[in-house]
Amino acid sequence: MKVGLAHLGVVAYIFASSALVFAFPQSVLAFLSFEASLLVIYHASVDQTTKLCLGAIVLLVLLPVLGSVNGYYLEIAIQVGIFVALALGLNIVVGFVGLLNLGFVAFYAIGAYLWAIFGSPQANHFIPGNLFPLSSAWFFPFLLLSVGVGALTGALLGLPVLRLRGDYLAVVTLGFAEVVRALVNNFDKPINITNGPKGITPIEKPPLFFQPLLEFFGLRVDPSVLYPFYFYFIVLFIVILTVLVAQRLEESRIGRAWKAIREDEIAAASMGIPVVRMKLLGLAVGASFASAVGVLFAAKQVFINPESFTFMESIGVLAMVILGGMGSIPGAILGATGVTILNLQLLKGLSLWLNTVRQAGVVLSIPLLGDFNLSQIPAQFEPAKYERMVFGLILILMMMFRPQGVLPPRQKRGH
């Protein structure tokens, strides 16, 4: 393997940006430049193995280390991971099979409530014997179970709507998500299954099965310090798994069948593709991703209620897929990462900065207009209050100037 300038450049960038975060743990810009290192790795002209190794170093070593400097970064990474897995799932349904799904969050809710009900005392309300909460050891079996439950509900939703396309299907999926939310909201009587709008808490966290091992090595770590790292690695594991599944499916006859259905259903059927089966499979796989992440979300939040699963969440994930580039796995990852960082860091960071500027009473002198004291800006003009507006503007501009998304599907070289 030849080590070229590109290799050195990438490594230098990663090193420099991590050093920046170390030096300025509170700086949003420093962390952004570190996050960008993954993009740099993706686009660098180095071979696949090097990319994988560098990516592994960043995600497995550097990010957790930086997380110990500023714990908020781990929280961001976990959120990003959750949305990446969601976007990858929706990308299969919308991007590959071409079924516009406006109610994707329903499957996320199903997964979350699955663990929330049985991983908390909630299930005692309708199952006698005081068996609940299940011990945290059940978290991983439930993660597996949620994949099955998600796939099943995804396929069940598919059955009645298979003949629908485009706008009609979109309306049905929208209705489905609202039905799920209404059910969750109202199933506190006559039998209390979901505890209604009050939500469910406390939900069991994943088991710390490795704690005896740590103690064996003489490390006594407080679980509350350990959990963010633990969740980060679980999310990372799920994301890697979903990327692998999505990628392998895309390059198989199943993925090709999905895209053929997206492009022309009649031609696809005439070329020997069982359209109904393939659509159901696509819906099931997408839903299973969302449902698995839902279980993790419930365990991480400890408390969930129906408010976490509104229509806006579905639209948010859809926007990630569209911004990134429909039908493209790197696109879905980038879209989810970008939008989450925008929401959690950029806009909040900007508003914080403007706030300090305002309170400092900086005076701007604009030619012709005269002096302008920033402290006179009313509090209503905080950028954080306009999060959605900025987000909407980005969507409008993207659709006008780059409708195919940031990283649209590429023509792959043949075998």
């Binding site: 499916l249 070329m271 359209v275 075998h415």
Partner: protein, 261 residues
Amino acid sequence: MALLELRGISKRFGGLQALNRVDLTVEDGMIAALIGPNGAGKTTLFHTLTGIYRPDEGEIRFIGRSLVGLKPDKITGAGISRTFQNIRLFARMTVLENILVGMHCRMSTSLWGILLQSRGVHRQEKEAARKAMELVELAGLRGKENEWAHQLSYGEQRRLEIARALAATPKVLLLDEPTAGMNTSEAQSLMMLFKDLIGRYVQALLLIEHNMRVVMGISHRVYVLDYGEKIAEGHPDEVRRDLRVIEAYLGRGTWVGDAQS
């Protein structure tokens, strides 16, 4: 031996009798042509044959089994594939992927095999890619296998559609106006290609043509449809002289003098 046999196929759309008791036979090694004026029901017959429509009456038999009521993908699986009058490629897929889609029903990789990347999946994918490249070559699209289908020129798209249909390894290939929009010499060279397909890639061809002259040279039997009814069948020379065929194409009123010569 009759590969494909249609007996008394009828199809109505509301008050319109699109097909009326049509009989048609395609035999092994044969190039059969289906001709007729616009709106005669040629494409409807193809749609009925490939399972997009279900016939109201009649029987379709293919190597001894009935195809009536089967879904399009099952009919392709049984060994009949087709092209479309208005090209229906998968636009945002590459040339190679388009052809690979055609092989879907000839591959048997399962969901689990794909997720675990089993050895069988690797072998099948490699084999499929090799065969697909062969068909790329046949369609004269070498070097363009990684381009999006919608980037191809019109003629290339027509040929890609034929290659895609061949990828399903059909016994009978149905071609719906394959020469539409081509000039006579292009059409003639395509017809020569079709002749070569028989025995090598398919056992028989059934093609719809609008232009009578193109099919006369290569077809063994011609069926003529008009207003959903079969008005003539037989050897091209017989059909050409058939009074009802001439009427259907030219109309009775405009026919003056000795048009048969």
